[in-house]
Symmetry: C2
Subunit: 491 residues, 2 copies
Amino acid sequence: MSKEVTSRAADYSQWYNDLVIKGGLADYSAVRGCMVIKPYGFTLWEHMRDALDKMFKDTGHVNAYFPLFIPKSFLSKEAAHVEGFAKECAVVTHYRLKNDPDGKGVVVDPEAKLEEELIVRPTSETIIWSTYKDWIQSYRDLPLLINQWANVVRWEMRTRLFLRTAEFLWQEGHTAHATREEAVEEARKMLEVYATFAEEFMALPVIKGVKTASERFAGAEDTYCIESLMQDGKALQAGTSHFLGQNFAKAFDVKFLNKDNQQEYVWATSWGVSTRLVGALIMAHGDDEGLVLPPRIAPLQAVIIPIYKGPEQKDLIDAKAKEILEDLKSKGIRAKYDDNDNNRPGWKFAEYEMKGVPVRLVLGARDLENHKIEVARRDTREKETVNLDGISQYVDGLLIKIQFEMLQRARKFMEESITKVDTWGDFVKVLDEKGGFVSAHWDGTAETEEAIKEKTKATIRCIPLDNPQEDGVCIFSGKPSKERVLFARAY
Amino acid sequence: MSKEVTSRAADYSQWYNDLVIKGGLADYSAVRGCMVIKPYGFTLWEHMRDALDKMFKDTGHVNAYFPLFIPKSFLSKEAAHVEGFAKECAVVTHYRLKNDPDGKGVVVDPEAKLEEELIVRPTSETIIWSTYKDWIQSYRDLPLLINQWANVVRWEMRTRLFLRTAEFLWQEGHTAHATREEAVEEARKMLEVYATFAEEFMALPVIKGVKTASERFAGAEDTYCIESLMQDGKALQAGTSHFLGQNFAKAFDVKFLNKDNQQEYVWATSWGVSTRLVGALIMAHGDDEGLVLPPRIAPLQAVIIPIYKGPEQKDLIDAKAKEILEDLKSKGIRAKYDDNDNNRPGWKFAEYEMKGVPVRLVLGARDLENHKIEVARRDTREKETVNLDGISQYVDGLLIKIQFEMLQRARKFMEESITKVDTWGDFVKVLDEKGGFVSAHWDGTAETEEAIKEKTKATIRCIPLDNPQEDGVCIFSGKPSKERVLFARAY
């Protein structure tokens, strides 16, 4: 029953798990690597999903739904793609169980073997492009701007709640275009959407960049990404948007008649973010008391807690608290009055701090006499006493302020965590002692990238967009370099 | 390219497929039994889903998410449940592919065999109740009112788009209660929610009833249902709500400490509706010209089509049409102005009739001169010419009227399709010649029910709620009966 949280300093990884589980976001399940997203966590995800969905629709996209299963042969059609996903696929081989002839229970019916095995989708490029072949004939059918909200499965060996689970929820956009330029523009536009969402809704500052060839999505010509920074100094890839070139069009023979009346392969993008973002949210803002949620997506934005002695005080406080509750709700604030008698105020304070509720209002008998109420911010843990008149406007404004300041603080932290280094010694030292992003010259080869990764566990997170060009030498090989890239250890 | 629809009289089943495919709702996929829900169909489903989701939340439910996979041993824990689902399960047996040593492509890696096979959920009672065991200790943890929107898989041998697909989308509510009475009340309340949704949003009248023992959900003590009637006289089960008793609590050992400080098994319900409802919608309202969609859930509620000769007329009409469009949108009407020059007005008329758009507005040069516009209803195909002043109010009112009248017509059709019969001869005759629901006495035995089904393919759709008690004799066995039940052939 204890809701105590391991401190970040004592054990960062355990701290994270504590916040997920004791904060009521998710739970382990009976199925290896799969989690249960609990109602509180799912409501958070719904707010994130709804905000993103609106942004997708506002940029001209529509939702559709494609099959969960992918015929095995489809995966093989794009060489890099199958190479990237074959090793972590859940494979359906049979379609029936039967009673165990030797006892209780059921066994797989050997007579119900599929002719071709089905893969539970790890991502849907192949099934979608096999469908687009029927949908696209002419340039008039383009662009096709489709998104799907779905569950996908990647059989990860080492899983972490939200950050890396065998099954996760995500959205995957899959668009088809008549020209390379238009597809590149789409991939970059959706990266902007992700960056805006991360900053404005999650209060999560990100660096926009492009991946090196080794870190690209399997089957992409370019992978754009947003990279964020966690409090332990490790980076987390928060979303990716891929320019797929004509790779999948060629693999599935998807051509269109262009305006010059010639057959041409279609150009593609895909882009996705997942429930992994919840993990980023936790690690970007949480503290040793629990979750700290940004108001715009918090399931609950304000909670009112009464403090009273005896039924007379209770009645008075009850009446006023309900009035405040209605007032808050009428402003569109997601608010709750916790009048549960089974729990003491102190327990409630800890509980809502754990859950990261942005604003706590405490109403006691003396407050009521003075026509005041105590207002506490979750993020800074600052308290003040406020006049009851116009309390809902006050809370409304405070929520906006909290949202803004959370982003500011996270941005400041991120900016201070980008260190320029010019020598191998400094590179290793900064990684080990400070963490964060290390901005360094790299010779542009996969060999050097791999060698650095092996020695330090740091990867190139991205080459920032609009990266300044600057002559220098690779920290590892000493070869010439034209620009710095961002290294970090990452989730 | 032809958008012609097979008539209902010529081939009802082909007519249905034509509406699904040519209406742009869904498509067959490369995966046996799985469909692709196209953007137009998915938007329809989104409107249905959002309306239901709001009703669930308004009745105190919250959403969560449970794993896609169910360990095989879990299914066996409730005897009736496994009996009902074992024969149509997709089974995951491996978690990795590898390069085919004999050539191109990939094969299942025999070394990556799961210790215990995983079933792709056909429904989630077992995985959810294995989780509830950890969430429920005391009566204070109850009720637990949780819903999940998810994909499920049932390996059906004969599939039909929307009506019966291997994978489908649905919601499944799973609630836990301290008493039998409360659980029964919940099951009935959700049946009411479904009935209200079907009637108010889908314009689909339903009969609320309870299933006979043979037709119950595998693992339920009682299955409540809403039954609807299609235009070919066949019934379609549109939603079910199950009182599960303590069956799953016993199977997964979920007990709680009640108010008298005693351990007791938890009481359960589950309830669901699926993308099958889209099939019901098509068959309840469609006609030989295409889909007819109820305004409240139609992806597009009104379309404006211009008719002009030459650029001068075009400019004038264009300007006015855009003004009307903004006016409609400002009223919250989902409207579109189709000014695509590649298609002629006649083609557009047919296209939007096929797609079931409730209201069509046609603006020509003479209309514009007369400050009028032609308004056509999709459901009745009636046209009238209306003054342009206040056109958006007019359309707004018309949409409400269409919604209301669609329900009225469907209700009248259903009521006229319920026939009371008292002899076996009449029973067979009505089934063969008229179809619809046949209200007849039944002796209450599973044997008679089965014999009738074998002879006529008619099943007992339900015993209506608040069924009048009436002495009679079973049409089949001649044995005494206390009430009539509703028989029908069904989807």
